[in-house]
């Protein structure tokens, strides 16, 4: 069980949190050599509101697919952050978008702030890839999956026209996180 690593991607519907979760799971299990399961929660409407995706990564078979004690959580909005930070484990990581999350929760975890969406807009002109930047950051911060695997996983999921954009986004993520550790 100690081999179990739990990630949560949270934000609002439409920010690509579930896609980020899927890519992370694929990086670990398809392009890496670990096991991974990805799950998500919908509101009863299956649209709008806070959204979360969870990824469990392990070297062993994974039974319980939901988070029990989060190793690393991303929060792209205040609502998601307030709603979902409660089960980050002591010593875990909380990555927040510094422009969005103003009311930073307290706890025995390490909080890392970064203007993710702003970076996406400024560096790449597209906020839509903020999720990919955050993915790169998490890979760097946690070290749970190798960079190559994350990159492969990202590129396998995006349409040909957006390969370059996403390649850049994930690299920005890797780089940005380096200084924040």
């Amino acid at each position: 069980m100690s081999a179990r690593y739990e990630l949560r991607f949270s934000g609002s519907g439409g920010q690509g949190m579930i896609l980020a979760g899927i890519i992370m799971a694929e990086a670990a299990a398809i392009y890496g050599d670990k096991n991974a399961v990805q799950s998500q929660s919908y509101g009863p409407e299956s649209r709008g509101g806070a959204s979360k995706a969870e990824v469990i990564i392990s070297t062993q078979p994974i039974d319980y697919p939901k988070a029990t004690a989060i190793d690393c959580m991303l929060a792209m909005t205040q609502e998601a952050c307030s709603k979902y930070h409660y089960d980050i484990k002591p010593g875990g990581i909380l990555l927040i978008d510094s422009n969005e999350v103003k009311d930073v929760p307290k706890g025995h975890f390490k909080t890392i702030s970064f203007p993710i969406i702003e970076t996406a807009r400024k560096e790449l002109g597209k906020t839509i890839v903020a999720n990919i930047i955050s993915l790169g950051m998490i890979a760097e911060l946690t070290g749970i999956v190798p960079h190559e695997a994350v990159e492969k996983a990202v590129l396998a999921r995006v349409p040909a026209a957006f390969v370059e954009l996403n390649k850049k986004a994930v690299q920005i993520g890797f780089q940005s996180a380096k200084g924040l550790k």
Binding site: E45, S46, R47, G48
Partner: protein, 286 residues
């Protein structure tokens, strides 16, 4: 006549106090940005105001779907029932309490897919229900499958190669089935819609209003519409012609366009009244 002109002609008491009929705490509603359902609801509330009906006497029954979430936001006797069955629940309520004004809110999937049978039997009985069908050519709630009103060739999550099922014309069906009031409106023509709904509410017997509105999230995105506005312009504005204009237009100009306005209206005995006079009357020897 553009909707702007209509707006000027129709005497508007603005701003309209929607809150009077809403359950304001329930807002914001669950509908996506740009979803037509909210626009239709507003026209309905204005029509209800114009009808002078008392909130206690209004009952609103829906099935299941995005459109069918409407009753949750309005301060009447409201029922969110089962997928496709709103007509039957409403029939029970109306028949049991004929003095209530019972309005059925339903989607194209709810009314015409799973609910098709109840739809036609409601029309046949000519029971006094006002039926608003929110026709957005898609199953919105379940994430964008084709519906019985999706145009041929269009894309949905279950028709990735293009839809091959010809769409229903809800108005034709309603008339053939026996409804005594049949009309069509759009969310774009919101003032005209308000008038049409008001007429439907005032009508005694089954009144059906087929309302073309837009689901930008699924139908719009999959079919390359740029925005809700774009959909309203192409589908609702350019895709329809009012019955009044239609008379003046050459056939080629009408091709592929749906008619708006009251398409059919007649005076037929209403079900609850017939039951009271014919059945209860005879049974009690009156």
């Amino acid at each position: 006549m553009s909707e702007g002109t209509v707006a000027k002609k129709q005497k508007l008491s603005v701003p309209f106090d929607y809150d009077k009929y809403l359950r304001p705490k329930k807002l914001p509603h669950i509908w996506c940005p740009g979803c037509g359902h909210g626009i239709v609801l507003k026209a309905l509330l204005r029509a209800i105001e114009a009808s002078g009906l008392n909130k206690d006497d209004i009952c609103m029954v829906s099935g299941i779907g995005c459109s069918s979430r409407t009753p949750g936001y309005v301060d009447f006797n409201t029922m969110h029932s089962l997928h496709g069955r709103a007509f039957a629940f409403a029939t029970g309520i109306k028949f049991a309490k004929p003095n209530m004004k019972v309005i059925v809110i339903t989607g194209d999937g709810d009314a015409l897919a799973i609910g098709g049978n109840h739809f036609i039997h409601t029309c046949r009985r000519n029971i006094d229900l006002t039926v608003l069908v929110y026709t957005n050519a898609i199953y919105g709630m379940t994430g964008g499958q084709y519906s019985p009103t999706t145009p041929l060739g269009d894309i949905a999550t279950t028709s990735r190669y293009g839809n091959i099922e010809p769409p229903f014309d809800a108005c034709k069906m309603a008339e053939a089935a026996g409804a005594s009031f049949v009309a069509r409106g759009t969310a774009y023509h919101t003032l005209e819609l308000e008038k049409t709904i008001l007429e439907a509410i005032k009508h005694k017997g089954t009144s059906v209003v087929d309302i073309i509105d837009a689901c930008p999230t699924y139908y719009g995105r999959m079919n390359k519409y740029k925005s809700a506005t774009h959909m309203m312009e192409v589908i609702e504005k350019d895709g329809t012609v009012s019955v009044k204009q239609a008379d003046k237009l050459p056939p080629e100009k009408l091709e592929g366009k749906l008619l708006r306005g009251v398409l059919y209206k007649t005076d037929r005995p209403e079900y609850c009244e017939q039951y009271a006079t014919q059945v209860m009357g005879k049974a009690t020897g009156k």
